[in-house]
Symmetry: C2
Subunit: 320 residues, 2 copies
DNA sequence: TCAAAAGTGTTATCCTTACACCCATGT
DNA sequence: ACATGGGTGTAAGGATAACACTTTTGA
């Protein structure tokens, strides 16, 4: 007996979109004005029985709120845990089915207050392209202090591997784990807001702007997923125009991963996978020598077993 | 403005569990009697407002229906698309949040009708450990015919890469894609049942037993996820007893992937990752020379960047 | 002519794959 | 003694990471 009777009332189901684009080497996320406080929110709306598929509902909402038409979309995660917050919230629970969407065109937003925002504004510690991010040392101090609070809890090792300290390698894919650790340590305002408490000074001092509700956590989930995915699936091309140069492609990969990549190795891999083809045209606006304009071979996706672009981080001085 | 008003009524939210264990080199899934027809179903139940977390609700339901207490649990996917079925179903929609759970102990089921079932019973074509599975040739004929129906649709290449034909490699992780192709081709009974039509002969003839509703699809999703995950996270150990031999570990990996693995390479990798430690004891019931009993080093999980067990499939005659 | 960016050739190293072989126990 | 499964050494091949260097444009 599958107990599939209708579930209790009071469950609202929201569809939430993390729409990502890249402009000027900066990954951007589509946001709308949040209803709670001044924080920006992700476009979202309740699931309607009229939508046959969840994706269809999502597309409808995003278009209504931002005027943006979605292209590539994949499911991210379903968030449904109730924060141990004010008890009045116990009656109504909101379930969010979050989706990751990628788009090659930034700028075409129309809804009231809809805008693109750099994702590293929310996660400054995730961008290592120009060396150690500003404020990283302060952040390390804070999490180290948190670990020292409970000496034998395993926090020390966890901090070490999550943030790449003491010789541990920096793993760019752990963006979500890093945010969750900061949340657990009470170092982001959301941790206090969710409990209905006042935000202490140290939590507010850390860099990185918050978002409405749990939307910064959802964005972190998207970042981790995307950083992992570009290594084995050709999703980078969903963020680029029809034709692009290899440098553009590399800078997009770097923007997402927050790392510098090795030029020759990056190119060798792209070439060897046969992911792109020369259009014969040249881009002349690059400042130096004109670059060949390439095109993504869409037909290759079904042919190859696991095409994609791997890491190739170059080790640089000051890199964990 | 985040349009977070309560969603429309008529949306039921179910929590569904794919509980996996391995016994006698056979992966098993926990099932309960399905309400529709004679097909087995996955344990599931409506989300209750009383459960603070989704996982808690899931654990409650599985325990109630099967007497089984869950250990390792992770979210799998949220299924919510309405099948283009009988129109009367249009009013009420069911959302299923599916979870993957792993357990080392098979056999401790108590609920009425709850039972363990071999997953290759549902997917005979996924088990390549003893060479080409029975019925694989017939299946290839059927999908090839489907591809030939629409010559320039790209079906041909899709079939080739999905099923590893014409020199394409077999990718064990594509279990879900294979099921979805069979569904699309109308080669599994569910495809017809979902449309409210009679099941034609050719769809019923293919090997592999169906499950209730879309549960076979959910199981396929779990298989694909698990086959991918064992390559980079130490989840195998969630399926084994406290102590085990290296051969046991390997046979478990083989059972899940449906492939034979290379002994020395498998061992080298496990050793080099430092995932296990010798208990000093020996297993004497193995038939030949007694094997060392090993133990999983749980502390290593947080230390290492990406421990796990990779593929190492040995190429054998008759392997695609 | 110089800065800036595109584009290439080559090597050391590690990881993966695969071969063949030896060891310890029960019957 | 021999069948059965446990356990190991080592070499070939390929992928990766890193080196430094040349080419083509605009200012």
């Amino acid at each position: 007996m599958t107990a599939s009777s209708a579930s209790e009332p009071g469950i609202a189901v929201d569809l939430t979109a993390v729409v990502i684009g890249v402009e000027n080497d900066a990954p951007q996320v589509l946001v709308v004005p949040g209803s709670t406080g001044g924080c920006a929110a992700l476009p979202a709306g309740p699931l309607s029985t009229g939508d046959r598929t969840l994706q269809a509902g999502l597309r409808r909402w995003v278009e209504a709120q931002t005027g943006h038409r979605l292209g590539y979309v994949e499911q991210l995660y379903t968030f449904g845990d109730r924060a141990p917050r004010a008890p009045e919230a116990a009656a109504a629970r909101t379930l969010s089915i979050a989706y990751l969407a990628l788009t090659p065109d930034i700028g075409a937003v129309s809804g009231q207050g809809a805008a693109w925002r750099r994702w590293y504004g929310c996660f400054p510690w995730e961008d290592w392209r120009d060396g150690t991010p500003v404020g990283f040392d302060a952040l390390v101090d804070a999490v180290t202090a948190w670990a020292a609070d409970a000496p034998d809890s395993g926090r020390r090792e966890r901090v070490r591997w999550t943030f790449g300290l003491d010789g541990a390698p920096w793993d760019e894919e752990r963006a979500l784990e890093r945010y969750e650790l900061l949340y657990e340590a009470g170092l982001v305002p959301e941790a206090w807001i969710d409990r209905g408490r006042a935000v202490p000074d140290d939590a507010a001092r850390l860099p990185g702007t918050s978002m409405a509700l749990d939307h910064r956590r959802i964005l972190a989930t998207a970042i981790s997923r995307l950083r992992g995915k570009i290594k084995y699936r050709p999703v980078l091309f969903e963020l680029l125009p029809e034709t692009f140069t290899l440098s553009q492609l590399q800078r997009t990969a770097e923007a997402l991963s927050g790392l510098r990549l090795h030029k020759q190795n990056f190119r060798r891999r792209v070439e060897s996978l046969g992911l792109v083809e020369d259009t014969g045209q040249k881009a002349t606006d690059t400042g130096g020598r004109p670059a060949r304009l390439m095109r993504f071979r869409r037909d290759v996706v079904l042919e190859r077993p696991a095409p994609g672009v791997r890491g190739h981080a170059t080790r640089r001085a000051g890199f964990p």
